[in-house]
Symmetry: C2
DNA sequence: AAGCCGTATGAAAGCACTTTCAGTTTAGCA
DNA sequence: TGCTAAACTGAAAGTGCTTTCATACGGCTT
């Protein structure tokens, strides 16, 4: 009995269990495609030898790493989660792992962006609602890192966009049709753009534009810029509703913020939609539960699409660039 | 300037610099044994291609940034997301990557469980609300894979648990105090346990037990087993409310299901809480927005704790096993 | 019995490098 | 000028694993 002095390889395992190396590999990867009996024999051999597959060799032999990464801010906000859900569903079908890089600062983002293409422990990248500059884009494409952007446009990279301006327009039209004259807006439209993208700006612009075309004004006092937090949003809603002439309708730039407004209305005993109409944006799952009128942007779909584009690009290297524009739909429920 | 599409290999560098791959390799490893002139040419080519040897990159990536994996079913359900949020926050502080393995079938789970410990692309593992058997546990610990279980107990593995029975008890007590006599339960308590865990069973048991101790009965007709979907939940709620003697209070095993019940009540024009009290479980973010009375289990915290235990275990190998029990708290809001 | 599946397996061809080995220069020295 | 030791360099043979392709075998149909 001459125990192999070197660390065991699949060849050793194969010999010991009397099968070919292909079978060992199969046991390791797609164990469901192996006869249970054989599987057990192999497993025993693996245990007996204390065999551990070498990650290095594995990574080399495999086409890629089998995982794709998602760069995202606020990844636990409902809208991001729903996008992630779409991504995950497409990925798990294709048997890819999902690596999440939560971004919470500009530095953080830059750090990821500069190391990811080099580290190569990912086959593709989805960047959600984050702004990237030319240099980043260049680095990504030079290093052949398949990437798709969601909610941001860069000419050199695949992207999936939402026509936020049109979204604002839809809401304005809806509110006008309902006969509202005094409307307000709550959303995060602070000028200093941080690392994250502000589709909110566009939503606001489209909203305002359409309103004005219909002869309605949107005075400053009726526009509240509140960050994406409950506290600030509610505060803003309070202020709006305490105005001498309070608005009869509020457009919130996101569903979550709309929920906050609904809550305030309840506390103030304001009847929705009779005394106050509320419309959100996103059509998050919960929007349906609470019967919120909102603009659907099919979050799941955007994620799924992103993943599919990526997968396609990975398997078929030089696919033409794609810039997809997802349609929006106003969903009327009980808050207008 | 034609940027190579695929990621460059030494072959590309060799071609571009007009030498053989062996030379490239030599440049990379023992550069002193290469003619300075050749060396320069090769270096230029390397720069121009942005070439990084794959294996090396991998190794470097591995040592700097660790990664920990999370095995979870339904990872987009709000309660899981909030736990993930906790995990992510603890992880990003420590500069760890988050790899998510969405589990959607028993096979899937077994596949992960058998390959993860061997493949070792991960430094630690968090398993959420999933049942694992002795063999899995053994394999995990034999291979030294630091693991923590959430919502499941196995003597050999760290775990974080929630006293669901007590949760049910809390709800029962609350409802009794409010004077309810006819109460109902909606939740997924189907007997055939699938791959996912059913804390719901325990919630139900605790609920029923306390009810009975107080002399209240919980007849079969008032117990609806509905899976975690809106459709079924609402259907169940309908049935309950159409009973000749409808319940005055419903305990839903999860907040999301409670939302469904609230919606049905609204449609049926049933006043909450006057005609019907509703209490959920989890205290998901949204629960506060809609003023749902519920049982808080501090989801974020459970995730954070799990990550911290893991991290501690990774840096300090033989930490004693921990079995943590997280407290529950009844949050009274406007639905009771 | 002939044909046809579907599953379980093995042989062999990669993958991205490293290393050995032998061949070619080059330089040094008579 | 001829000869040899360095100094370089490339072809080719590994490295440990995955994956494609082909084959074998036990049913099932018709």
């Amino acid at each position: 009995m001459a125990p192999t002095k070197k660390t065991p390889t699949i060849y050793d395992v194969a010999k010991l269990s009397g099968v070919s190396i292909s079978t060992i590999s199969r046991v390791l990867n797609t164990s469901d495609k192996v006869n249970p009996e054989t599987l057990k024999r192999v497993m025993d051999a693996i245990d007996r030898l204390g065999f551990v597959p070498k990650a290095e060799a594995r990574a080399r032999a495999m086409q890629g790493t089998g995982r794709i990464g998602v760069l995202t801010p606020l990844f636990t906000a409902p809208s991001f989660v729903q996008r992630l859900r779409g991504v995950a569903s497409a990925l798990s079908k294709a048997n890819y792992e999902l690596v999440i890089y939560p971004v919470d600062s500009m530095d953080h983002l830059q750090g990821y962006l500069s190391s990811i293409p080099l580290m190569r422990n990912i086959d593709g990248l989805i960047i959600m609602s984050l702004a990237i500059n030319d240099q980043d884009a260049k680095r990504l494409s030079i290093n052949g890192m398949g990437t798709v952007l969601i909610e941001y446009l860069h000419p050199d990279i695949n992207s999936i966009q939402i026509d936020d301006t049109h979204g604002g327009d839809l809401v304005a039209k809806h509110l006008i049709k309902k006969g509202h004259k005094t409307v307000a807006f709550i959303g995060d439209i602070e000028p200093p753009e941080k690392f994250a993208i502000h589709p909110v700006r566009s939503r606001f612009n489209g909203f305002k534009q359409t309103l004005q075309e219909a002869g309605l004004s949107l005075p400053k006092a009726y526009v509240k810029s509140a960050p994406y937090t409950q506290k600030e949003t509610r505060q803003a809603a309070q202020e709006l509703l305490n105005l001498p002439k309070p608005p009869t309708a509020i457009f919130a730039a996101s569903d979550t913020q709309a929920f906050g407004i609904m809550k305030i209305a309840r506390q103030l005993n304001i009847k929705v939609p009779d005394d106050l109409a509320i419309v959100g944006f996103d059509d998050v799952d919960t929007a349906e539960y609470v019967d919120l009128t909102t603009v659907r942007q099919h979050l799941d779909e955007s994620g799924r699409l992103a993943a599919e584009i990526l997968l396609a690009r990975i398997s078929e290297a030089d696919r033409p660039l794609q810039h997809i524009n997802l349609p929006l739909l106003l969903i009327e429920r009980d808050t207008t």
